[in-house]
């Protein structure tokens, strides 16, 4: 069981790593010499598109990440993203997606119609504010209602964890060897 569990998270990491490298290859093919900020931007973009593509558009946040890249990407970035995803990016902004309808749940207050006690009201307000803040953190938050928000957050956190793990290992290994080299 341990093998299967680690191997499937391993698969996700592998998939992310492969796709990420694909993107980086394309970047380096475009510009031989990049400043550090350009490199950082390239690395981040490739990593984001790669981790979003591991979801293969099943989740809202992954679709939002891809949409954001496709709408605001320059030449090399666009090609890299397309290569990672394996498909062309749509350039136009989609107006009204047939996605989620956000139903304002005003009926709760209307149905109850009662004046809440101040403590409970304050608590609920705090919770509602926090929910809003959390919502804004997830990419593609405009289309998330309350239930989907939590589901998307779950998925997003796990994907971010994968991304951070792989990047951290790569950075550590690279720095280790770099330091070995310097100290010798």
């Amino acid at each position: 069981m341990q093998n299967s569990s680690s191997s499937s998270s391993l698969m996700v990491k592998q998939e992310f790593f492969t796709k990420w490298k694909k993107g980086l290859k394309i970047y380096s093919a475009f510009n031989k010499e990049m400043t550090i900020m350009e490199r950082k931007r390239a690395i981040k973009l490739s990593a984001d598109v790669a981790i979003a593509s591991t979801r293969s558009a099943t989740t809202q946040w992954s679709r939002a990440v891809v949409a954001e890249v496709s709408s605001s990407a320059a030449g090399a970035a666009r090609i890299a993203a397309e290569e990672i995803l394996g498909r062309k990016l749509s350039t136009e902004r989609r107006k009204a997606q047939a996605g989620k309808k956000i139903v304002r749940r005003r009926r709760k207050a209307a149905a109850r119609g009662a004046v809440r006690s101040s403590a409970a009201a304050v608590a609920k307000k705090v919770v509602r504010n926090r929910r809003r803040v959390l919502k804004r953190l997830i990419p593609g938050w405009k289309k998330l209602d309350e239930i989907c928000l939590i589901k998307e957050t779950l998925d997003y956190i796990a994907s971010l964890q994968v991304q951070v793990d792989v990047m951290r290992h790569l950075a550590n290994a690279g720095e280790t060897l770099h330091h070995q080299q310097i100290l010798l």
């Binding site: 069981m1 341990q2 093998n3 299967s4 569990s5 680690s6 191997s7 499937s8 391993l10 996700v12 990491k13 592998q14 790593f17 490298k21 970047y27 380096s28 550090i36 950082k40 690395i43 981040k44 990593a47 979801r55 099943t58 709760k108 608590a123 705090v126 919770v127 926090r130 959390l134 953190l137 997830i138 309350e146 239930i147 589901k151 957050t153 779950l154 998925d155 956190i157 796990a158 971010l160 994968v162 991304q163 951070v164 990047m167 951290r168 290992h169 790569l170 950075a171 550590n172 290994a173 690279g174 720095e175 280790t176 060897l177 770099h178 330091h179 070995q180 080299q181 100290l183 010798l184």
Partner: protein
């Protein structure tokens, strides 16, 4: 395992700081010894690495992670609960499921997912190595509870399932909504639907709570400001980490694909950019080591020998198999215990 690791560490570090090529040679001799030959699968590579001190390998390749956000070990019995629920709610798809959870999974009718549960599973198994007996018992009890809860939840949430449950006094107005009403609660359809929705939200919040480290302490369910606060912090921390890590990666190499170059070179046998590789004087790398240690440091070693054709999928496999050793960001003692569990 820990004393072993600590014994290794000073040796390793002195090898670096002592400016002794012999020190380095010692370390890489170990690496050399670790790799017997081209492995076929991940499993064999694991066992190959395990023949010689795993902490060394892990130490060399995966340094101690700086605790950007320290992850205290979550209460692992609840991780099984997390896994069960994650299977219901998360969207990570996977083919192989651990057999234990399949009964529980079969109760829920949604997509089977793995990664979310695998990562907590991994961290859980570290704790397992320390106290297996206690953990198993509590695990089982938690699982039983979760199973019961699952049945209840799925029956509550399922609008189309055939399963009928004897309810206390639920007025089932609509034919296809099977919801169990608790004692003393209103049973009209609106509040039932609302209750179902709230239950859904609460259940998912519990999952989320288990995923985010540091949320398990409070026993209250979901919705609490503290839990949401923790979740927000965690998400923000992860996003910041991605930013910093990409900056680190950009800073550490003059070309962003220095490792890719090596792999590419192996694939296509093309020439390699020597600006980076020239930094590694060949004197450090004795001939014999290069052949076998290549698999652990593919990006550098392959670069030195462009002519060698190798299976790049192996590299990625190797590297990622080693990445998986460290997936829970903890000390090397846990690495070694995890490596042992891989056997």
């Amino acid at each position: 395992m820990e004393p072993n690791v600590e014994a290794v560490q000073p040796q390793f570090r002195s090898g670096i700081s002592g400016t002794k090529p012999g020190g380095m040679g010692f370390v890489f001799d170990d690496i050399h010894g670790l790799i017997p030959g081209p492995p076929e699968t991940d499993g064999t590579s694991f066992t190959a690495l395990l023949e010689l001190p795993p902490p060394q390998a892990v130490e060399l390749l995966v340094k101690e992670d700086f605790p950007a956000k320290s992850m205290p070990p979550p209460i692992f019995p609840s991780n099984i609960a997390l896994i069960d629920r994650a299977s219901m709610f998360s969207v990570f798809a996977s083919a192989d499921n651990p057999p234990e959870s399949t009964n529980i999974l079969s109760v829920s009718s949604s997509m089977k997912t793995d990664s979310v549960k695998q990562e907590p599973l991994e961290s859980e198994h570290h704790r397992n190595s320390s106290s297996p007996a206690v953990s198993n018992q509590s695990l089982k009890s938690i699982k039983r509870k979760e199973r019961e809860k699952k049945v209840k939840e799925s029956s509550k949430k399922s609008k189309k399932l055939e399963a009928n449950e004897a309810s206390d006094g639920s007025g089932e107005q609509l034919p296809y909504v099977h919801v169990r009403a608790r004692r003393g609660q209103a049973t009209d359809s609106h509040s039932l639907a609302e209750r179902a929705r709230r239950e859904k939200i609460n259940a998912r919040m519990k999952l989320l709570q288990d995923l985010v480290p540091g949320c398990n302490k409070s026993l209250q369910i979901s919705g609490t400001a503290m839990v949401l606060d923790e979740i927000i912090n965690h998400v923000q921390a992860l996003q910041r980490q991605v930013e910093f890590l990409s900056m680190r990666l950009a800073a550490v190499n003059p070309r962003i694909d220095f490792n890719l170059d090596a792999l590419l070179a192996v694939e296509s046998e093309s020439s390699i950019d020597n600006s980076y590789l020239g930094m590694f004087p060949p004197s450090i790398w004795p001939e014999g080591q290069l052949n076998s240690s290549r698999q652990q440091q593919p990006w550098l070693l392959d670069g030195l020998h462009p002519g060698r054709v190798d299976d790049t999928s192996n590299f990625i496999t190797q590297e990622n198999s080693l990445l998986s050793y460290d997936s829970p960001p903890n000390s090397a003692s846990l690495h070694s215990s995890q490596l042992k569990m891989e056997l």
